[in-house]
Structures are given as structure tokens and as C-alpha cells.
């Protein structure tokens, strides 16, 4: 097979510089051939396409990416567009609430699950199953539940609570909370599983030591266990955070950005301008802004992770 060339290569060209070049290509040849998809993905997609997008975000491309260089025009237009600004504010608000609540509820549920409860596996199965579903499914179910006339609100009113209000999906000021309820429903179980794995990873003797020291359970969780779970917490924040930035399917299914533009998000803005708005330059500028957001999250994380390793 291809590997035999590796052994024969030094013999064949054992003299001078060409052999070094040959060695560079032929050493572990099969491994390099096998790695072509990965190398291509990295170079063409993750690096190439990203650079392409950044470059063309500085052009005035409309239907086709052929426009000429216009500097920061697209970005000025972007931040002068109320739909984009609403999208960004929505993402910030939804993101902050979602991050805090997913982590908080995930941790709370993990702690409860950690109390040697009965039916632990049943509880876990129930909490995690939404995570297996598509955001489209999640969005449509909650759209139906929050249907103002026939959903939960209508049911409660028919049952006698005539003031019961659960019209968040149709209320521009509350629609983000509708998204939040659906988003939490899908994501909290996953966060709980992560946190529970973290809790179970804590040395049992730490718990014993805390009991001998007379530290109340809740205090042990907050002061001792939580700080020990830094790794899991960082992972959870990064995963939840990158999920939030990508938020798209759920909005499409649950509200489609409505009512009006009150639940628009950046990912949807990008999609609409690229594929239905016919304004590619604008979509690419918005996409570049999303990239920037992710970098702002990722760079400190990478610094913490790999800077930390450097110290040890």
C-alpha cells in the first residue's frame, strides 16, 4: 500500500535537497491523504469562506457578489437600520436572560438530582428529551400552546379565570419571554446533564470533609463545589453562548420575527438579506458582525483556557 513508499523514499532520493522536499510530501503520505477533507474544510470553509465574507461585506453587492469596494458603507447602513438594531438588542436581552436562566436552572436541577432522589433516571429522561427535538418542533408546539384564543390562555379563560393572560407571542413587549420559555424548555435539560456530570465528578471526600467541618449543604455547593466546577461552567457558557448567537430556527418556527419586527434576531436578518432581500453586501456585513460577537466571547475564553494551561 501507499505506506511502502514511506520506507523506500529515503533510499530512492538519498542525496540532496529534492529528498527533503520529497520527504515532506511522502512522510506519512496516507495520513496526509486521509486528512485532506479536514485540511480542505479548515482552509476552504472555516478560513476561506470567512475571509470571503469579511471581504465582500465591504462591497455594495446586491444580487450577486460582484459589487465594488465601498468601505464601511454597509456597516453604516446596518446600524442605521432599525430592524438590525432591534435584532441586536433582542439578541442581547434574550442572550443575557437565556444564559443566566439556563445556567441557574440547570445548576439548580442538577443539585436537586444530586440529592439521592428516587426515579433519578426518569427525571433525567424527561428533562433531556426536548434537547433531542428540532427547534422547529419546539417552536411550533409552543406556538400552539401560546395561541391566544385556543391555547393556554383561551383554556384558562374558558375555565373561569377571565383575566388570565398568556399572550406573550402576540405581544411585542413580551415576545422575547415567549422565545425564552421555549428556548429554556429545550436547553435546560442539557445544561442540567452537564452540571450533574460536573457535580458527580467532585471527590466524595470533599463532601465528607465539609460535613465534618459543619458546612451546611447549600453553603458547600456555593462555596466549595461550584468553584470546583469551573471547567464545566466554562464549557456550558461557551456552548450556550454559541447557541444563542446562532438562534434562528426557533424564531422562524415560533414567531417568524413577529409581531412586526419585535422578535427579529441577527441570524435571521442575515438570512433574509442574503436569500430573499437580494442585498448580499448587507447580509454579509451583518454576518461579519455576528462573527465579531463570537470572537468577543471566544477570545477571552481561549485566553483563559490556553493561558491557564501555559501557567501549569
Amino acid at each position: 500500500m501507499a505506506d511502502t513508499t514511506v520506507q523506500s523514499a529515503p533510499v530512492a532520493g538519498s542525496s540532496s535537497r529534492p529528498s527533503a522536499l520529497k520527504k515532506f510530501f511522502l512522510h506519512n503520505l496516507s495520513a496526509k491523504v486521509a486528512a485532506i477533507p479536514m485540511v480542505a474544510t479548515v482552509l476552504v470553509v472555516f478560513i476561506g469562506c470567512t475571509i470571503w465574507t469579511i471581504y465582500y461585506s465591504f462591497t455594495n453587492s446586491k444580487l450577486l457578489p460582484t459589487g465594488k469596494f465601498v468601505g464601511f458603507d454597509q456597516y453604516e447602513r446596518l446600524f442605521a437600520t432599525s430592524r438590525w438594531n432591534v435584532s441586536v438588542i433582542n439578541l442581547l436581552m434574550y442572550g443575557a436572560m437565556s444564559l443566566v436562566l439556563t445556567l441557574g436552572l440547570g445548576f439548580l436541577l442538577a443539585v436537586l438530582m444530586d440529592q439521592k432522589i428516587r426515579f433519578e433516571s426518569a427525571f433525567r429522561t424527561i428533562m433531556l428529551y426536548p434537547f433531542a427535538l428540532s427547534f422547529i418542533v419546539t417552536g411550533l408546539v409552543w406556538q400552539w400552546i401560546m395561541n391566544p384564543t385556543l391555547g393556554l390562555q383561551g383554556t384558562m379563560r374558558n375555565l373561569g379565570w377571565t383575566n388570565f393572560t398568556f399572550d406573550w407571542i402576540a405581544n411585542p413587549r413580551m415576545v422575547l419571554f415567549a422565545l425564552l420559555i421555549a428556548g429554556l424548555w429545550q436547553g435546560v435539560g442539557f445544561c442540567m446533564v452537564l452540571m450533574l456530570a460536573g457535580l458527580r465528578g467532585v471527590d466524595e471526600e470533599i463532601w465528607k470533609a465539609a460535613r465534618v467541618d459543619g458546612i451546611p449543604t447549600w453553603r458547600t455547593y456555593i462555596s466549595v463545589v461550584l468553584p470546583m466546577m469551573r471547567g464545566v461552567l466554562v464549557t456550558a457558557v461557551v456552548l450556550i453562548g454559541s447557541g444563542i448567537v446562532r438562534l434562528y430556527d426557533l424564531v422562524v418556527a415560533l414567531t417568524n420575527g413577529g409581531p412586526g419586527i419585535s422578535s427579529e434576531v441577527p441570524a435571521k436578518y442575515v438570512y433574509n438579506y442574503m436569500f430573499s432581500g437580494g442585498n448580499i453586501g448587507q447580509g454579509l456585513a451583518a454576518a461579519t458582525m455576528m462573527l465579531l460577537t463570537v470572537l468577543i466571547i471566544m477570545v477571552p475564553w481561549a485566553y483563559l483556557e490556553f493561558g491557564g494551561k501555559g501557567r501549569k
Binding site: 505506506d3 506519512n28 496516507s30 495520513a31 486521509a34 486528512a35 477533507p37 479536514m38 472555516f46 478560513i47 476561506g48 469562506c49 470567512t50 470571503w52 457578489p65 436541577l109 436537586l112 432522589i117 427525571f123 433531556l128 428529551y129 426536548p130 433531542a132 427535538l133 428540532s134 427547534f135 422547529i136 418542533v137 419546539t138 411550533l140 408546539v141 409552543w142 400552539w144 400552546i145 395561541n147 385556543l150 393556554l152 383561551g154 383554556t155 374558558n158 424548555w185 442539557f190 446533564v193 452537564l194 464549557t235 454559541s242 434562528y248 430556527d249 422562524v252 417568524n256 441570524a267 442575515v270 438570512y271 442574503m274 454576518a287 455576528m290 463570537v294 471566544m298 481561549a302 483556557e305
Partner: protein, 311 residues
């Protein structure tokens, strides 16, 4: 020893009455405030998590008049699968009225090859990264992992141009390629960590025996990696089945996967919405990942956690 002296002084008080003293296990009342709080909270969240599933199924079994009566809690008076049949065969997606079944088969046609190709490539990647390091392989891997955090929207349009120039835009091949690309970081990480956890002596022994790259991969590594294959399989099948964005962008209307069809049925249908059909369609779309979830049990948990645990 001063403490012991005082302690001895108090001894007679407690010395003799061992019969009535605490003995055996601590008394544990069945209901403690703590236990009640724990279970109440858990049950509350269980209801939150189960409610949509219940509503979805119950609504899909009702008739429209019954739904208009307006009690989403109520069980169907006469459960009927009519809505399911309609959702499957004749619900309208805005343009056509063939129901979800074409979307289902499209999803099958997308999911099976995408899963196989993406897992195979990722397994080879992981194997090469652990056992056949070459110059720069770790850098490529780092960029690959870092790249998985780039929002898809950033790479979406250039990929449209690329697939179009390859002549596969709007076909199943395009979606398969895209799923392979974006599944690569997480799956490669998964396989890399798994192969790294295998004893390296095994690989060295095989090399000493004269086996090459592919022979070691197929005859030694693959047979040992069944558990991680199952995890990857679960991860990919549910992930690809649930995808919406890549399907809607790259597949073309002929090949729209089930999620896209579902969204079209519910959100772009004309006329009075038929909620029972909508919910039947939703249940049908969620059924495949749910079955995988409930059958795979702990492996699913391992899969999602494996994706999260950094290497």
C-alpha cells in the same frame, strides 16, 4: 487533657441509661421539608417539560370542532388518527398538498448518507490526529474546533457559491457535503479523544508487525471503536434530522427535509389553520429523534456530554 477532665465530670449523667439513648439508624421521617421542596420543584419542572409533549399528542388526536371548544388540557373525546393521515399524505405546504411524507423521505435520504460520510471522515481524522501526527496537524485541529464556533451565517453564502460552481447546489449532495463539513469538528473531537484513550502500545505493536495506515485503521481501530460509533451515530442522526437551515438553503425545494416541510405546513399554509393536523405533523417530525432518544437512553446522554467535554 483539661477537656477530658470536664467531660468525665459529666459522665454519670449519661452513663447509665443506654437503653433509652439513641440507638441504630437516625430516625428519618418520610416527609421532611427538604424532601418536600426537592420533589415539589422536580415535579413542577417535570410538568413544564412534559406539558408540550402531552398537548402535542392530545391535540393531534382531536377534531377541529373539539379544538375550537378551547381546552388544550382535555383528552380527546374520540381519539382519531385522521389528522395524522392528513398530515402525512395531504397537508398543504403552500405550493403542493402532498403532506409530510415527501419531506420524511427526503430527510431519510439526507440523513443516512450524511451520517455515514461525516462519521467515516471524522473517524479517519481522529485516527490520523492521534496516531499519525504530521507537521501542522494539531494546528489544523485547533482551527477546526475554533471554527465550529463561527456562526453558520458567516460561511453560508460563500458555500452557496462553492456548491453552485461545483454544480451540486440545490441537490442532496450539497446538503450531504455541508453536513459533513459542519459535523466534522465535533465528531473529529469525539474520535480523537476516543482513539487517544486507547492504549498506544496497540498501535505501536501493529506498526512493528508491518501494518500500514489503512490496515491499522480498518483492522485494529475500527473494531475497537463500536461504542464511540454508536455515540456519533446518535449525535449525527438526531442533529441532521433536526437541521433546518442547511436544508432550506442547500437542498432545493424538491429535496426539502421534513423540518422545512413541517414549518411550511404550519407557518405558510393558507386558510383556516388546522391545529390538529399541525400538531400531528409536529409529532411525526419529532418522532424519529424521540425514538432514538428513548431507545439509546444513557448513550444519548454520553453523546451530548461527549460533545461538551473538552479534550
Amino acid at each position: 487533657m483539661s477537656q477530658t477532665a470536664t467531660m468525665t465530670g459529666s459522665a454519670p449523667a449519661t452513663g447509665g441509661n443506654t437503653a433509652t439513648d439513641p440507638r441504630g439508624p437516625r430516625p428519618k421521617p418520610f416527609f421532611t421539608p427538604k424532601k418536600i421542596m426537592i420533589y415539589t420543584t422536580l415535579v413542577f419542572f417535570t410538568l413544564y417539560f412534559l406539558f408540550p409533549l402531552y398537548v402535542m399528542v392530545v391535540t393531534s388526536l382531536k377534531t377541529m370542532p373539539e379544538i375550537r371548544f378551547g381546552n388544550i388540557f382535555a383528552l380527546p373525546s374520540a381519539p382519531s388518527f385522521d389528522a395524522w393521515v392528513k398530515a402525512w399524505t395531504s397537508a398543504c405546504t403552500g405550493l403542493t398538498c402532498n403532506g409530510l411524507s415527501p419531506g420524511f423521505w427526503n430527510s431519510v435520504k439526507i440523513t443516512i448518507p450524511s451520517t455515514i460520510v461525516s462519521i467515516f471522515i471524522a473517524a479517519v481524522n481522529g485516527y490520523a490526529l492521534v496516531n499519525w501526527r504530521f507537521k501542522g496537524s494539531e494546528i489544523f485541529f485547533a482551527v477546526l474546533i475554533f471554527g465550529s464556533f463561527i456562526p453558520y451565517q458567516v460561511m453560508l453564502y460563500p458555500l452557496v457559491i462553492l456548491t453552485r460552481s461545483m454544480g451540486i447546489f440545490g441537490t442532496l449532495q450539497a446538503v450531504i457535503v455541508i453536513h459533513t463539513i459542519f459535523g466534522m469538528p465535533i465528531l473529529t473531537l469525539l474520535f480523537r479523544n476516543y482513539f487517544a484513550s486507547l492504549p498506544q502500545e496497540l498501535f505501536k505493536a501493529a506498526r512493528v508487525d508491518g501494518a500500514g495506515f489503512w490496515r491499522i485503521f480498518f483492522e485494529i481501530m475500527l473494531p475497537m471503536s463500536l461504542p464511540i460509533f454508536v455515540v456519533a451515530l446518535i449525535l449525527q442522526i438526531t442533529g441532521i434530522w433536526n437541521d433546518f437551515l442547511f436544508g432550506v438553503v442547500f437542498a432545493g425545494p424538491q429535496n426539502y427535509p421534513m423540518t422545512v416541510q413541517l414549518n411550511n405546513i404550519v407557518n405558510s399554509a393558507q386558510g383556516t389553520p388546522e391545529y390538529n393536523v399541525n400538531m400531528a405533523a409536529t409529532v411525526l417530525t419529532g418522532l424519529v429523534p424521540l425514538i432514538i432518544y428513548f431507545v439509546s437512553g444513557k448513550l444519548f446522554v454520553r453523546g451530548v456530554a461527549a460533545g461538551a467535554v473538552k479534550g
